[in-house]
Symmetry: D2
Subunit: 251 residues, 4 copies
């Protein structure tokens, strides 16, 4: 069976002996020293530079997820570095591999839920349909509730405030809030919008496809993991973590 | 054998029911909406916010490495996504796993070479010692030469210029340039400082420990990989790449 | 919020200054030189050594998935090795990261489908319920159909034959075959049991929990990836793959 | 710069609409049900089936490394699974990423040391040269010494015995033993051959290229990781490990 070849193409980058162009901008002369890291991330993904407003909102979504202490992902990266110090990149890769359904996946889940709802739906009605759907499938509604922040997640409100200040508080944010209200009623306990829900909603306002919303968490945590491996090099904890676990398990 | 337990600690983050603090700064009130992505990365790694000058230089080092077309790392990530679309993070992790000695490792190599040289050494003398050392060990001098940019790598000069503008062009940059001069003489062909060498030198000016210099490339490419996976979702090439390779190998 | 500590324990291994015991068997004296690789894998997972019959069937499931040519997973591993030759393990890890829903996931999917069906269900009825369920959810029925083997997948029949010879052809195999029959009828084209379906069914006969059925593929392909990286070291193709793709994309 | 294309080829596998052949053996008719897992691994890597003797020795090397309790690699895999249960393969990949210089790398190191020594060298002389070389470079001699097994590592002796029984105890094993003797003398304390040294030596007797010796550990541990993830599913410890570490670090 011979397949019919289709061309291999990529529109992101053009490079020649003289230079590299990213979405049409010359790296040396138009990007370096002129474009900040957040702008560059936006350019890569959207194919154009952001407005000042977009950039502030976009950066805040990534910044919010950079650091969260000794998470399972951080511990996995540190343990991997202990075993393979020759491969800094491998330890980061191991840490990122755990950014899945349990943690960062909820950003994706919230964004998907909002983006798949009819664009022009009335929010109260749409939220009822959504919550009912999750309840029927016995699935967890993404983006709401938090084991610690029972009342309100201050990070969520801050992210919503930044989005509002910059003109990115629209139908997706409204629907996310309404889902929280509806779910609280349906399940009989207060379930505020958590940080994943806020990020998923505001990412949707920025037009970020839900299928790459895990990317926000991955980029953010790659920064956090570099910092944690740097600390691991100077003040290691992985060996201690390992020896304690092994000793306890041996009884 | 019972080991003596030592405490497990991390100085990066403090979190409570109410908030998260990163190196002493409150995430909700002092970071979100106020600290850009480059500043946040600097804060994570250095434990303090950068000056405006530091930030511009630091961001340019990461920005320089975000995108380089269909690299082996990008292809590995796209092929992984084809097999496991449920794990966006796994595709990124696969892509980052290849940022090793052949490519991003040269930034680390250059930074290490410079940082291990005596701080107060005379540059011509130090460069001779360095080049002679690599020649004796039959190892490649990191940070110089480029298959395409035979004369000068425009990105290197741009990075050096940004560092100079912001007051971060010192002994490490001088030594890097001198190594290129000395190596050109020793090996009998023009070997300009390449982009890895420039990044390694300027990272050293910023006081970035060589042991985490791969982190610059890892963070940069994690951004690039998100963009490439987004393109892969909309305009896939991995299946074509696979089918062609398999077909050709089958003869 | 202080969590209530629960003990950390693992029942697989006991080690002391003198030895290691795996599920109660002494590694030095009872395992090494006496227990083959397939037996060892069975022992690890099941907690006991297999019978001769179980072992032959179990090994055949893994052996069937070891090699499949230049798959996306193999290409990703080879490309990763090109970038990071210092990390053989990282290249294998990158390759394994792609063994997800598209390929190896179908073994898991088939096993899950069979194991979640009522144990004592009548097969024709059960198969109808299953196929109808997938059709309603617009999901692909796992374990049937093949782009090449339109009539019959010879590997599937061979695996079924081995299972029958050793006394492991029971309700799960019957249901798998019946699902293929039912799906062919429902979708109006011949859909034979493919190799994933056969493995998923026979793994179920062996009592292997569907939640670890991807493990069969992971172990198998880790062997295949070692062989492919060995070939890559001696007769590399990754650089060529990369250069061709990059050149074509540059136009 | 247009590169001159070279063909993409692989000699391991030929597949057609009807079947798959691995190194010339038909998967369906000549391999499945007839070739055990250890034989298959040997076939993949060596390109031919092993003799009975080779197979027993080869399998014992892999079997020896399958299980070692709650290692850092196991903990990393379990923590990754906690975060991304949708990606069983990603948790295995994370675990394997840590099989580097600190642990499994010593097998590679020992094999390399032995294989790079002159084939016809007198062992006492060769061992002196080797140990002196490591001492001068201030590097650790691979394959000797053990934190627990101060006197003798019973697994090493068992592996050596199996190799001897099957006719695979030759110059590499002699040299490995002699290196241990010489290092004990040079460093003034008893340094027996450890399990990595024994595996590296016997792998060399089997003609296994040192550049793929990490592969023995990777294949072995992929089996062990499947078993540990299965235990994690039924009796999880990752969440406890995480909560304890985070709580302790928060003070």
């Amino acid at each position: 069976m011979t397949h019919v070849a289709k061309p291999i193409s990529s529109a992101i980058c053009r490079s020649s002996a003289d230079n590299i162009a990213v979405h049409g901008l010359d790296l040396t002369n138009e990007i370096l020293g002129k474009v900040g890291l957040g702008q560059m991330a936006f350019l890569e993904i959207y194919g154009r530079l952001p407005s000042v407003q977009e950039c502030r909102v976009f950066e805040s979504l990534i910044v919010a997820l950079v650091e969260h202490g000794l998470t399972p992902s951080v511990l996995a990266a540190r343990l991997t570095y202990l075993g393979a110090p020759e491969s800094f990149q491998g330890a980061i890769a191991a840490g990122l591999s755990g950014l899945g359904n349990t943690f960062v996946g909820s950003v994706e889940g919230a964004a998907r839920m909002l983006q798949e709802s009819a664009a022009n739906a009335e929010p109260v009605q749409a939220a009822q349909t959504i919550v009912e759907g999750f309840r029927t499938r016995k699935a967890i509604v993404p983006g709401i509730g938090h084991p610690i922040h029972k009342d309100v997640d201050p990070r969520s409100e801050r992210i919503f405030a930044i989005a509002r200040e910059e003109g990115f508080s629209g139908a997706h944010v409204r629907l996310m809030r309404q889902v929280a209200v509806q779910a609280s009623e349906t399940f009989g306990r207060h379930l505020p919008v958590n940080v994943s829900g806020a990020i998923g909603a505001v990412a949707s306002e920025l037009g970020l496809d839900w299928r790459i919303c895990r990317g926000i968490g991955v980029v953010a945590r790659s920064i956090g993991l570099v910092a944690h491996l740097f600390e691991e090099i100077r003040n290691p904890l992985a060996r201690e973590l390992w020896l304690r676990a092994d000793e306890e398990a041996q009884g």
